[in-house]
């Protein structure tokens, strides 16, 4: 029941929110929903056994028996941190937008809640059908979000995002079908249960089939992640989305989740695991470097942050391909950390854009003098984003780099090269936008308001806390990655 | 979208005008004719021998009548609806400005 509640509360409240009339009602409704999810998640967290990689809090109801579809929920150490991340940031996001004045607030909050429900659904689903349903459900609210409240190129960006990622989902669906039928053939009964299908993968006789299934699934995940060269939807969508939309994109950690939950257990049983590792590692490493360079070349602050997101997500694939428990858990942690960091980054961009009317870095300047609170939070976050130790970004990056180096030396070298570039664009942006002489033509900007300070401040504190003490989430990730690696031991990978 | 001045449609129409529709129609019709004819000739129709007996069968009309009301009563019934339907439709459409 617990997981069902976590997934369904946002969805139900989304409908209720849609029915509200005023902004006050809508935001209150959204806050109630997100806070209840947070409370439930915290309850779940404290009742979760992080020493085992087994699925917990399972729920199972048969749905379409003739096709082997069931309503099957459950969480493990891979999903719980991401659920936690989502549950934590969402109420803060509502708070962040608390005083925003925008058209159709009821729809706005409703879409936020749908996104939350869908993302949580993906994390909880243990049935491929359900998984795919939630997976696709994330598309729609985000599409609306970008289309309605987005920037000047919102229509282009939203359609591009929608279709691009939809194509990827469909390819993934093909992979799911392949797996489904191959397993159906071997076992004689249809089932879309994720654990079942993952276990059956190795019994597929044809190596080519296994590879194709793997690649199709991988494609779906890495486009969502995204990873070079399938990223071109990202800068547009991230940039054109409203601030809340960008944050929702950031919290859309389903691509990486799929890689850990689905790809890694399959990896050793593909016909050519080394090739797959090479693909994943190379894509990850190149993304890191490429995203960093691209971020450096951007003039728009938000676009820069978007590319930096691409760069950071490279660690996820790289770490996953590293196949050492430290690297895999580091990559999982990177997802968690990235969610926190990028949330603030995009919130900052939104605040700056709103206060000054521009996001072009060169047009900004000296904002720290007028927005000291924002400056403090931003400096902290930028430091976290460039991988400063003591903050979450470092834990993740170090774990990925150190762990992956055991198996993938060349790619780690590429990734290391990006670190300086990463630092460069972060600092460059900070210097141009926040420091230096205040540009009077920006007008009389005011600092972030109380709600925004609270929202960003809490996330900033979490970045610091988990940077100093990652164990609360990293332990369960480690348990799971050790489990996954343990499964692979002796597979010659 | 792109402003196409050289659209396929225009190519088709110009070709069409050039050849005159009849020639094109004739080609298409001949193609059809040739294909069907080849197939007809290539088929060995299994029935030729029994022809004379049927010619002398006097109860043709009776047989038809019988079939209409037994085996093929359903199409017959449907036909009644068809005719009714056609009548309604035709009257409605063909009727001039009603009441004016």
């Amino acid at each position: 029941m617990l997981l069902s509640l976590i997934v369904l509360i946002p969805l139900i409240f989304a409908v209720l929110t849609l029915l509200t009339k005023t902004r006050e009602q809508a935001r209150a409704m959204a806050l109630v929903a997100t806070v209840s999810v947070l409370l439930l998640t915290i309850y779940t967290y404290f009742n979760f056994d992080s020493t085992t990689a087994a699925t917990q809090f399972e729920e199972f109801y048969s749905w379409v028996p003739s096709l082997g579809i069931s309503y099957h929920l459950g969480i493990d150490g891979i999903s719980l941190p991401l659920i936690l991340l989502n549950a934590i940031v969402m109420p803060l996001l509502i708070l962040f937008t608390w005083n925003d004045d925008r058209k159709a607030p009821n729809r706005f909050y409703s879409l936020i809640l749908i996104t939350q429900g869908a993302v949580l659904g993906v994390f909880c689903a243990l049935d491929f059908f359900l998984f795919y349903v939630f997976w696709e459900l994330t598309l729609i609210p985000l599409f609306f979000m970008v289309s309605i409240w987005g920037g000047p190129k919102k229509h282009y960006a939203s359609i591009k995002f929608f279709i691009y990622t939809h194509v990827a989902s469909l390819v993934m669906l093909l992979g799911i079908f392949g797996l489904y039928f191959a397993a159906w053939e071997t076992t004689g009964t249809p089932s879309l249960s994720i654990p079942h299908l993952l276990a059956q993968f190795q019994f597929i006789e044809s190596g080519i089939t296994r590879d194709l299934i793997f690649l199709a699934l991988l494609f779906g995940f890495i486009v969502k992640l995204p990873v070079f060269p399938f990223h071109s939807w990202l800068p547009d969508a991230y940039t054109e989305a409203p601030t809340a939309g960008s944050v929702l994109f950031v919290l859309l950690k389903i691509g990486g989740y799929g890689i850990f939950k689905i790809m890694l257990p399959l990896l050793p049983f593909t016909a050519s695991p080394n090739l797959m590792i090479t693909i994943m590692g190379a894509l990850g490493a190149v993304s890191i470097l490429y995203g960093a360079f691209l971020a450096l070349a951007q003039k728009d602050l938000k676009r820069m942050v978007a590319y930096s997101s691409l760069s950071h997500m490279g660690y996820v694939t790289l770490g996953a391909a590293g196949l050492v428990s430290l690297s895999v858990s580091g990559a999982m942690f990177q997802q968690f950390s990235h969610g926190l960091i990028m949330s603030i980054m995009f919130m900052s961009c939104g605040v700056i854009n709103k206060a000054t009317g521009t996001r072009i870095i060169n047009e900004l300047g000296g904002l720290a003098q007028r927005m000291p609170k924002l400056a403090v939070i931003m400096v902290l976050t930028f430091m976290a984003s460039l991988g400063l130790p003591g903050l979450t970004g470092f834990i993740a990056e170090f774990s990925v780099l150190a762990g992956s180096f055991v198996n993938l030396q060349g790619y780690v070298v590429i990734a290391l090269m990006a670190i300086v570039i990463t630092a460069a664009y972060h600092l460059w942006a900070l210097q141009r936008a926040m420091f230096g002489v205040y540009k009077e033509k920006l007008g009389n900007v005011v600092d972030i308001n109380g709600y925004q300070t609270l929202a960003m401040g809490v996330i900033a504190i979490l970045i610091l806390y988990f940077g100093l003490n990652p164990s609360p989430v990293l332990d369960m990730m480690l348990t799971n990655s050790e489990h996954i690696i343990g499964l692979m031991a002796g597979m010659g990978v | 979208m792109l402003n196409k001045q050289f659209t396929i449609m225009q190519i088709i129409t110009s070709v069409y005008r050039y050849f005159k529709p009849r020639i094109l129609g004739m080609i298409v019709a001949f193609l059809f004719l040739a294909i069907v004819m080849v197939s007809v000739i290539g088929t060995s129709w299994p029935i030729v021998d029994q022809l004379p007996q049927n010619l002398e069968d006097p109860s043709n009309i009776e047989g038809i009548g019988l079939l209409i009301f037994t085996q093929f009563v359903v199409p017959f019934e449907i036909l009644s609806i068809v005719l009714l339907s056609a009548m309604i439709g035709a009257i409605y459409i063909a009727k001039g400005e009603a009441g004016k």
Binding site: - | M26, F32, V40, L83, G96
Partner: protein, 100 residues
């Protein structure tokens, strides 16, 4: 004895003529006539097969087809009449406001 192929050949030729006319005629009434031609060529087939097979199914079918042809023609003429009433002509290739 006349081989059945000849009947079929005839019917195919008539059918092709119908097709040809359908494709090339502009006048709606002529096009309708071509449709009738095609239906009747099918009737030739049916009758021929019926008698060569020695069962009356084909002949019953012919009767139904004739009725259907009538019904179809009724509706068709009604539509053409309406068009004529509106445009004062039934050159159907000039009626193409619906395209692309």
């Amino acid at each position: 004895m006349i081989p059945v192929e000849l009947y079929i050949g005839l019917s195919v030729v008539i059918f092709s003529i119908g097709l040809y006319g359908f494709m090339t005629q502009r006048n709606g009434v002529r096009m309708l006539m071509c449709v009738e031609l095609m239906l009747n060529s099918a009737n030739i087939n049916l009758v021929a097969f019926s008698s060569y097979h020695g069962n009356l199914t084909g002949q019953v079918f012919v009767l139904y087809v004739i009725a259907l042809a009538a019904a179809e023609a009724v509706v068709g003429f009604a539509i053409l009449m309406s068009i004529f009433r509106m445009k004062d002509m039934i050159d159907l290739d000039k009626i193409n406001i619906l395209r692309w």
